[in-house]
Symmetry: C2
Subunit: 249 residues, 2 copies
């Protein structure tokens, strides 16, 4: 279980490490069963309110998306962020206690599995079923980690954890202490993700910067100087982080 284990920790797209990205395989499987409907969207678009492909299962081929819930007064919580190689089930969005919405953070391309085909796909293609099971496990796993920080951690820990999660998942990390990558979100949306106000996101990034742990250029370009200390602030088990970094590199 090293495979599903390392996969599940941060929901890393392990196919991407193996050379040939998993989406390639998935696309093949999709094409065999359903006419592979591919759609593209610009950054900042909303998904799922269109009449045409309503209530489908999407598969992210490229780009970042965020699914969020919001209260009547406009308060918003980003519940998860989807990266290439992951599934999005818009069937979750209807009939809930609060409004759900999925938006693109970058330009994206998605494969669309129409509603009716999904169960058939799962039953006929064990590989897709297994992959989907692992994807679901990864989603639950990282949502749980985030709930833990939402409920019980300081702003510093939440920001630090988010930086590491997104860095690892986007496969932006190489070996070594320093890591540099870009997060296609505003501080406002980072706040919606971490349960903080945009103002406090700014302050907290400033604190981390003054501590010498990271640098930012003021536009979500992140440079991590001391990833071990950042992990300590994020309250992540450093041994586990090491393992992740090794398998990611």
């Amino acid at each position: 279980m090293t495979d599903s284990g390392s996969f599940s920790q941060f929901g890393i797209c392990d196919g991407a490490r193996a050379g040939r990205p998993w989406h390639a395989e998935a696309r093949l499987a999709f094409q065999r069963t359903t006419s592979l409907h591919k759609i593209e969207r610009a950054a900042g678009a909303l998904l799922g309110m269109e009449a045409d492909a309503a209530k489908a299962v999407y598969f992210v081929l490229s780009g970042w998306l965020a699914s969020s819930k919001s209260l009547r007064n406009g308060q918003r919580q980003i519940v998860d962020i989807q990266l290439p190689g992951e599934f999005i089930d818009t069937r979750l969005s209807d009939m809930q206690a609060s409004a759900t919405q999925i938006e693109t953070l970058t330009p994206v391309t998605l494969a669309v599995v129409p509603r009716g085909n999904w169960m058939r796909l799962l039953q006929e293609y064990p590989e897709i079923l297994a992959r989907h099971e692992r994807d679901v496990a990864a989603v639950l796993s990282r949502m749980s980690e985030r709930m833990l920080r939402l409920g019980k951690s300081s702003a510093q820990a939440r920001i630090a954890y988010t930086l590491i999660e997104l860095g690892l998942r986007s496969s932006a990390f190489g070996p070594g202490e320093s890591q540099e990558f870009h997060i296609p979100m505003t501080q406002q949306s980072l706040g919606d993700f971490t349960g903080l106000s945009s103002v406090h996101v700014c302050r907290t990034l400033g604190q981390l910067e003054r501590m010498g742990v990271v640098s930012t250029n003021g536009h979500m370009d992140i440079l991590i100087h001391d990833i071990e200390q950042l992990a300590a602030i994020a309250e992540i088990d450093v041994a586990l982080l090491r393992g992740e970094l090794n398998s990611a590199a």
Copy 2:
């Protein structure tokens, strides 16, 4: 989609409403494919650290369980609560950034699907596959709702929401304004569930009581006087709540 819709909102066990509980069917299916291994545990026991049935998928036949994550300093967050008719996948518990643990809140009986049999079960029994898909959707749905409150709502909203969620899911609600039921948790664990300190849980329950919305006898016996107002405090769409109550009754 009224079926999966009403199911997914609060993860209600819709089988329980339909007369014959779904677990009965599930048990039959399990028995056909695997020797149905049934285990019982007392209240307050820990699950999954035993050597025998390690890393299995469980199916709750009776009783309440809580799965939680905790930080190195002892801070704990209950990530979800499992009721009869729901699945528990202990494979999620290994290899994560924080320790996961599953404990019983009441005496429970569980059906155990050994690790190797799970994927086979899904592939061979479409009914179980479909059921599991819906269960996963319900878990994600209610975890999202809770994340929204964890990140963006006051203590009152979190407590109010939790009371309604647990009342609805345990099918304790009948028609009418008043609802009475028992939650088998201490204020401490309610705090771990809502991201509050036990002290503040107590205060907040006191506030709700002084507002005339609920009564408690000091031991987690809850009596809801005005469920509409409680839903308003919980920031739940009242129309949706109405629908849930109707389909639950």
